[in-house]
């Protein structure tokens, strides 16, 4: 029962994360992205946040290390990526906390605070904090490729479930036809 519940919770969390990442793909939630990556000469000197995330969690790098078939390299790779991934999540969380603190201080001096907008902002902030906490938990527990691993595990489990369901249906049919014959 408990592993089943844990899996459902993990799958729900995965869907939640994927829905958030899909929003990022549209570029709507990355206002600073296009501003940050070019300097005065129009030369790219910083990666956009989404690109940086892709680099940290790159499946290509993981495959490159896997092909060496060296347990030492694979262990080192996991440790290194875990460290960078945790740094990224904690930094993002810290930056958001600083921005929110500043905003809160500014709001205190504001004459007309828009309660609805503030509530929405607070909700989004809490969403991000929850997401960061979840990511830290997943990365620490399952490694830097936790999401991909969980997604592939879910796919594998779905396949197994489908097969079991077919087997169960087939055996039910056999049992039912056996009953008919017996009668």
């Amino acid at each position: 029962m408990m592993p089943g519940l844990a899996f459902v919770a993990a799958a729900a969390f995965l869907v939640f994360l994927l829905s958030l990442s899909a929003r990022d793909d549209n570029g709507e939630d990355l206002p600073a992205a296009s501003m940050r990556n070019q300097n005065r000469l129009g030369v790219t000197d910083a990666l956009r946040p989404a690109e940086l995330v892709l680099r940290i969690f790159s499946p290509k790098d993981r495959e490159f290390i896997r092909l060496t078939r060296s347990p030492r390299l694979q262990r080192l790779y996991r440790e290194e990526r875990r460290r960078v991934a945790l740094h990224w999540v904690r930094l993002m969380s810290r930056e958001m906390s600083t921005i929110m603190r500043r905003h809160r201080l500014n709001s205190r001096h504001s004459q007309n605070v828009n309660v609805a907008a503030e509530a929405k902002l607070f909700g989004q902030y809490m969403e991000l904090r929850f997401l960061c906490a979840g990511l830290v938990f997943l990365i620490q527990l399952f490694g830097p490729h936790a999401l991909v691993d969980l997604a592939s595990y879910a796919g594998e489990l779905r396949g197994r479930l489908g097969k079991s369901m077919l087997d169960a249906t087939a055996s039910n049919h056999v049992a039912a036809s056996g009953d008919v014959v017996a009668r």
Partner: protein, 168 residues
């Protein structure tokens, strides 16, 4: 030779001169260097340790001190960014090319770099901290991959022949 006054120069003029210095640096100097990793190390060596300001005699004489400094910094940041965006395999190739160009024995080079971590000095000032972490982490991994390949190639070679840097 044209030496431009720095304080009297307005922003668009500064940008134009900086752009010229940037292109000059890429055309005359950086194109002669065999790989991006070597370019990164070269540009970092143009920066003074104590003040972190860049200096290049020839470029400063042609375009002015400030423009040369900004062009060097822009080039340094651009190459750093391109190295961070490389897949790990690409970075291993870069490092391999750099080791070959250095004419050092690969085993000694890898040992020294793992011990002293001199690549930390090659990071531009005020770069995004996650980019810096990813770069340092990838260098550590690339060094381990090269060491692994070296060990593999030595294991399959007769004891008398010198260990070359293995081809991928």
């Amino acid at each position: 030779m044209l030496l431009l006054g720095e304080s009297s120069m307005n922003e668009p003029a500064h940008l134009v001169t900086m752009r010229n210095a940037f292109e000059d640096l890429q055309r005359r100097t950086l194109s002669q260097i065999p790989c991006d990793f070597a370019r990164l190390v070269y540009l970092a060596s143009m920066r003074e340790y104590n003040s972190a300001t860049y200096h290049h005699e020839g470029l400063a004489a042609r375009y002015g001190q400030e423009q040369a400094r900004d062009a060097l910094e822009a080039c340094h940041r651009e190459i750093f960014c391109s190295l961070v965006s490389l897949p790990l395999e690409g970075l291993v190739t870069e490092l391999e090319t750099y080791i070959r160009a250095s004419h050092e024995a690969p085993s000694g080079f890898i040992h020294a770099w793992k011990e002293l971590e001199p690549y930390r000095v090659a990071v531009p000032m005020e770069a995004d901290s996650t980019m810096v972490q990813l770069f340092l982490s990838n260098i550590r991994l690339a060094l381990e991959v090269l060491r692994f390949r070296l060990e593999q190639s030595q294991a399959y070679q007769p004891a008398s022949s010198p260990p070359p840097l293995p081809d991928r």
